[in-house]
């Protein structure tokens, strides 16, 4: 009986200590020193490209600011910024960016870099568009042939660009050939590969995954496929608690000489070509 009671007490003491330790740990991890933390809302494809894994540590080292990178879909990213839950946003959806600034939510928008999108498709090229220079015309041919096409359907930068091309082709895609997936880029590529469908992809993700999937580039180089990235600070007048100085430090870093060098070199060793082009200066 005595042994049982002693165990009894020790178990509760142990549990109590564990809880105190855990709560202490969590609280310590969750405490944010104001000014020393920057929350960057960006997109999943930006994160997946790997650029941030190089760019962010360089910025942290240069500025002493700790960066929290929240990578979600473009729409969610901007919504987070609209709520003042992020200090700065890096996305590639010009229309949404412009709206964000026009609404007074974002200020000091700068062009950072661009990469491009490519139209990829199955090796058999059922719609016969390989080598075409006009993306909109290619899309029109896909619709006409009712060749399978996978859309990300998630309001991502890629999805926004895809809709732009459909609009330029004056086609409203609909029908069983048009598969709207609600998926990330890699998932969409996988789906396209499995179903022998076309899709629009950013070049970086395509290059990074090309060995896994049966997809070839069919259309590239058209200006409409350019994918420019913009960085915007969240307006401190609307959200007084944001780290505006940190946001500006980040913006200045990535558009300045050190950031541009990192961006311009990124991807060279892995793919033989850089994945991004820093935005030409003075434009």
């Amino acid at each position: 009986m005595t042994r049982g009671m002693r165990n009894h007490v020790w178990v509760w003491v142990a549990v109590g200590l564990v809880v105190v330790a855990a709560v202490g740990f969590i609280s310590y991890q969750s405490y944010a020193r104001p000014g020393k933390n920057l929350t960057l809302a960006t997109t999943t494809s930006t994160q997946d490209s790997g650029l941030l894994d190089v760019l962010i540590p360089a910025f942290e080292k240069a500025s002493g600011i700790k960066v929290k990178v929240v990578a979600v879909g473009t729409g969610q990213s901007i919504e987070i910024a609209r709520r003042g839950d992020a200090d700065v946003v890096l996305v590639h959806a010009r229309k949404l960016e412009d709206q964000f600034v026009a609404d007074g939510q974002g200020i000091n928008r700068r062009d950072v870099m661009y990469n491009d999108f490519v139209v990829v498709g199955p090796p058999g090229d059922p719609a016969g568009i390989k080598g075409m220079k006009d993306a909109a015309a290619a899309f029109a041919k896909i619709a006409q042939a009712k060749a399978s096409f996978v859309s990300r359907g998630d309001k991502s930068g890629t999805n926004v660009k895809e809709n732009e091309v459909w609009a330029a082709a004056q086609v409203k895609p609909a029908g069983s050939w048009y598969l709207s997936a609600g998926a990330g880029m890699d998932e969409a590529l996988r789906l396209a590969s499995e179903k022998g469908a076309y899709t629009l992809s950013d070049r970086a993700t395509y290059l990074a995954t090309k060995d896994k999937y049966k997809l070839d580039i069919v259309v590239e180089g058209d200006k409409i496929l350019y994918n420019p990235y913009g960085v915007i600070a969240v307006n401190p007048k609307v959200h007084p608690n944001v780290n505006y100085r940190g946001a500006m430090a980040f913006i200045n870093f990535i558009t300045g000489p050190e950031g541009r060098k990192i961006i311009g070199d990124f991807g060279r060793d892995r793919f033989g070509q850089p994945l991004f082009t820093p935005w030409p200066q003075g434009q």
Partner: protein, 226 residues
């Protein structure tokens, strides 16, 4: 297998954070849920039936919905925005607590109700006060309550939607095993994702075993064969 052997510090950080977040939420959920469940079982009061139904319903609260609601509460524009808890482990513990509390409450309620009659009568016959009888029933139901806490922990460590929304899956800071699995899957690294999943299962098994050993020692005064 090579993933574990590689002693990757990031992997250990992810596992550690998963255990701490879900463990804390489960323990806090148990500390709050067991008394709550017992009270619901023992005391009669107006609205009791309704409250019990609400608890049962909340046991099935979709994690991603809980995540969205907590996100809105903790958001800069939300009522608790000043606390700056969004995208921190604290926010993750909070949301998992919300998911886990009804589960522990509901299952404790059921566990205790089953044992109530026999144990209570015996305790009262041995001269216990009402409170002592209550504690005796709880003590005798400890195995089922332990199972309830394990179910709660299982729910917490396996969920992904809520912690993704309020935590943000930030590397080194709020990335846990489930959100890491989503990331690896999204980037097409299925083998890493599966490895993480297996580690998660092994972890749940280990915690299960640990709690199974500990529960019998946690209380109970009447004799019982383990």
């Amino acid at each position: 297998m090579s993933l574990i052997a590689s002693l990757d510090p990031e992997l250990y950080q992810i596992v550690f954070l998963s255990v701490v977040v879900s463990g804390t939420a489960s323990i806090l959920g148990a500390l709050a849920g067991v008394p709550a469940g017992a009270l619901l079982a023992f005391r009669r009061f107006p609205g009791r039936t309704l409250l019990i139904r609400v608890v049962y319903t909340l046991m099935g609260l979709p994690p991603v919905l809980a995540g969205l609601l907590v996100y809105l509460l903790l958001s800069s524009q939300g009522p608790f925005g000043r606390a700056r808890l969004l995208f921190t482990p604290a926010a993750m513990v909070i949301v998992q607590f919300i998911l886990v509390f009804p589960i522990v409450t509901g299952l404790t309620l059921v566990a205790v109700r089953d044992r109530d009659r026999l144990v209570r009568d015996t305790a009262l016959a041995l001269g216990a006060t009402r409170w002592q009888a209550d504690l005796a029933v709880i003590g005798e139901s400890r195995r089922a309550i332990g199972a309830a806490v394990m179910a709660a922990f299982g729910r917490a460590i396996a969920e992904v939607g809520a912690v993704m929304l309020v935590g943000g899956n930030i590397q080194w800071q709020t990335r846990v095993m489930t959100t890491a699995i989503v990331l690896e899957t999204r980037q097409g690294r299925f083998d890493v994702a599966i490895a993480l999943g297996l580690i998660l299962l092994a972890l749940a098994f280990a915690v299960n075993t640990l709690v199974g050993q500990v529960t019998p020692m946690a209380g109970g005064k009447l004799d019982e064969n383990p």
